[in-house]
Symmetry: C2
Subunit: 473 residues, 2 copies
């Protein structure tokens, strides 16, 4: 079966309904137009508004029928009451799909909203046109030149996503971009009146560009079909699910948000596990697990050694890794002896697992120490941890120097070490140490390292990474 | 009973042993000297080193007995083997207390280390001199001009802390400073050979400068005394405990770190709860709960309403607040009607609890909306949430403008609203939105707002805040 929704992501021409020349007011249509232009969309763009005029140097057409050429795709940013006419015009124009940024349909507690959604759906179905939304941000697909926000990376990648929240999709993309993720296709799907979560999941499963699937789900419109789609998907690629609406208030809010019925938490948890999906507890964790899947070569097993600077952070790390089900085996006696030989004394250090090297003694010492630990048969993964604000006596620019030297050495170390290696940058309180850590995150990701920004997030993401990997060897 | 350890924090003169003129090597003594000078310590400073010389424009004395005036306090940064002589000299000089940065005592798996600790302890006790450490960073007390790191705020405050990890204490201070905490006294206590966790807890309980006590604990040397001290302390002020070493690896590392015996997790949890302490799961949570205790006026009850921008983040917030035991009651029908009147339509919004206002419509609308919600009898606390990277269509500098306007309005709002109000700034992925959020954190804290940097951390901190407050009304 071919990936039948490809046409959504590669339109040759897009009309945007509701592009007003009046820039003083919030103008969703104009924002879409500007984003697509800035993003470098290569096809034809047609702004629409009954009053005509000009926007971004383009003629604003009064309606779809006035556009000279064909139109593949329509973005609607007009008030809900005008949309039945727009849908009729689109069907007549031969439009293949229409995306409704517009809200005010089944998600409002108003019979009229539900009726309106039924009406536009009926017209579209009879005209063989697909609907994205309503009440959503639409499509992001770098390889097709599509976006709803010009802050998103224009580089194409392997992470696909569908989301019942536009805001969550926007945050996931930006957080993901900062964490080295690049996306294939992201669908902010809103109410899912026509195309729903099952359609998108089935599509992303078959899409060869997509290697990892992320989902933000409030509820499923076709429960049984979604579960089947999920089972099929997880056989082919990792599927990460952020399921929300567990609480009474959350469930009630979800109805107002996308008319989703959230169902019972316990039921969902069991079904997701059975289906082989990876359930995550927030956007950050979803991005972290995806990051691990893309950046960490599969270790032979779970046995991990943690090396780094700081006794307190070493013990915290030991607790958090244990909690996440990642074993930190004892180092053999001869390894401890080799470490003692390297350092001369145990004073101020912990030469167990975790290994607290206390302070940075230069690249050569770090390499010798790491190789001594790597050579243990019972170690599969090395984790290096560095806390920015843990350096006791080191203040100001010296802190930058010390952490910089340590991390440069870690980069050098990569060549000397064969076993998989992950880095944790943690504990930055002030604005400047945070900036430092984020810069170093970029650098390490560019070098191809898996990097985590707190000990806790590393432990939890690695725990879920192993959970998946061990079931799909 | 007077606070009998005051003399530790207000020495008139300090000698630092192990200040070498050789700047090329790591020189702990020199770093202490530099930190104290930069921090503005007002008393006399005497660097010590057998070779003499000069450091930071001060004469380096060969030994304590060569110093012309009296010495109240000694910081030792010399190797462990030289410390018995140093302790003898200090006793002869009439020194009141000595702090050992030096490690290599009972925390190493070496009989000699344990014997050495016993030896210096014996000399000090016979000479009526107290020991801080060994194997620790020592004292931070802005009102006494003491610090071990010149990055710490020189402003005095009400948060006291003792910590068995120097690195954790350093991070807590810096994270705390960034989150609006100012400290009275912080003790990095290391092995606690003489003064131990019970001594410091009893002191901080009686110290009038200290209003909140933070503890990082691996294990207690005098279990029963510590538990009694904790019970007394929690009657007078909130005590937040970060207990680590729960895992096998963590417990084993703790022995090498500070010779602490960590005990059973289940036992500790029960004892801490019985004693009325607030157990926290990391430095960040410890700082967040302290922040809530200092910045949030006690609401009448737990009933909370969450207002903000974004459907997805509203539902996530509802789930996380429910998980933390904070109820989000339904808004009365007439309140919902008032909100509908303010906004004209429900389209794209959630007018329940959480309230998703979807987009920012200016200060006046925000004030009217918030006052409408505040006036509900069943609401005790207002929480405003703003996610930086959730703004769907808003990109680049417009995002800064939008979030800025929203937050300026929140500041204006404070005058119009009487019920307690907290702010959550969340979801920043990129370096620039992170910077933006941290700037706004500073500004809001300066305005006296309780601010949290993620939805999850807000929910958990508020949950623990309520837990404490309801037991100590």
């Amino acid at each position: 079966m071919p990936p039948d929704l490809d046409f959504l992501f590669y339109p040759q021409s897009i009309a945007i309904a509701g592009v007003s020349g009046d820039k003083a007011k919030f103008n969703g249509g104009l924002l879409y137009l500007q984003s697509l232009i800035r993003f470098g969309y290569k096809g034809k763009l047609y702004p629409l508004h009954p009053k005509g005029g000009e926007a971004e140097g383009l003629t604003i057409y009064p309606s779809l029928k006035d556009i000279p050429g064909p139109v593949d795709f329509v973005i609607s940013a007009v008030p809900a009451r005008y949309t039945p006419q727009l849908v009729k015009d689109a069907v007549n124009k031969g439009v293949k799909a229409i995306h409704f940024f517009t809200s005010g349909y089944s998600e409002i507690e108003d019979v009229a909203g539900k009726a309106l959604q039924e009406q536009i759906l009926g017209i579209a179905q009879r005209g063989n046109m697909r609907i994205i939304g309503p009440n959503c941000l639409g499509l992001y697909c770098p390889s097709g030149g599509l976006t709803y926000n010009s802050d998103f990376s224009a580089e194409s990648g392997t992470v696909g996503m569908f989301s019942q929240s536009g805001g969550i999709s926007a945050y996931t993309i930006q957080k993901g971009n900062a964490r080295g993720l690049r996306f294939s296709k992201v669908i902010s799907m809103g109410n899912g009146a026509d195309l729903n979560e099952s359609d998108y999941l089935e599509y992303l499963t078959r899409d060869p560009e997509t290697k990892v699937i992320l989902c933000y789900v409030e509820g499923a419109r076709e429960g049984t079909r979604f579960l089947e789609a999920l089972k099929t998907a997880t056989q082919k690629k990792p599927v990460l699910v952020l399921k929300v609406g567990a609480s009474e208030s959350g469930a009630s809010a979800a109805v107002s948000h996308t008319a989703a019925l959230t169902g019972l938490t316990a039921t969902w948890e069991g079904l997701l596990r059975q289906a082989g999906a990876i359930q995550v507890n927030g956007v950050e964790e979803m991005v972290d697990v995806a990051h691990a899947l893309l950046y960490l070569p599969m270790p032979r097993g779970r046995n991990t050694v943690i090396l780094g600077i700081g006794g307190g952070s070493s013990i915290l790390a030991a607790d958090l890794f244990a909690e996440a089900g990642i074993p930190l085996p004892q180092l053999p006696a001869d390894t401890k002896k080799r470490l003692m030989d390297i350092y001369g004394s145990e004073a101020g250090r912990i030469l167990k697992n975790p290994v607290d090297i206390n302070s940075f003694d230069g690249t050569e010492v770090l390499v010798r120490m790491t190789k001594a630990v790597e050579s243990c048969d019972n170690i599969d993964l090395l984790v290096l941890q560095l806390g920015y604000d843990h350096y006791g006596l080191i203040a100001g620019p010296y802190k930058e120097l010390m952490t910089g030297m340590f991390l440069d050495s870690v980069i050098a170390l990569k060549k000397a070490v064969e076993k998989p290696l992950a880095v944790i940058l943690h504990s930055y309180g002030s604005a400047w140490t945070t900036e430092l850590a984020m810069k170093m995150q970029d650098k390490l990701i560019q070098e191809g390292f898996p990097v985590f920004m707190s000990i806790q997030s590393a432990a939890r993401a690695l725990g879920k990474y192993y959970y998946y990997m061990e079931r799909h060897k």
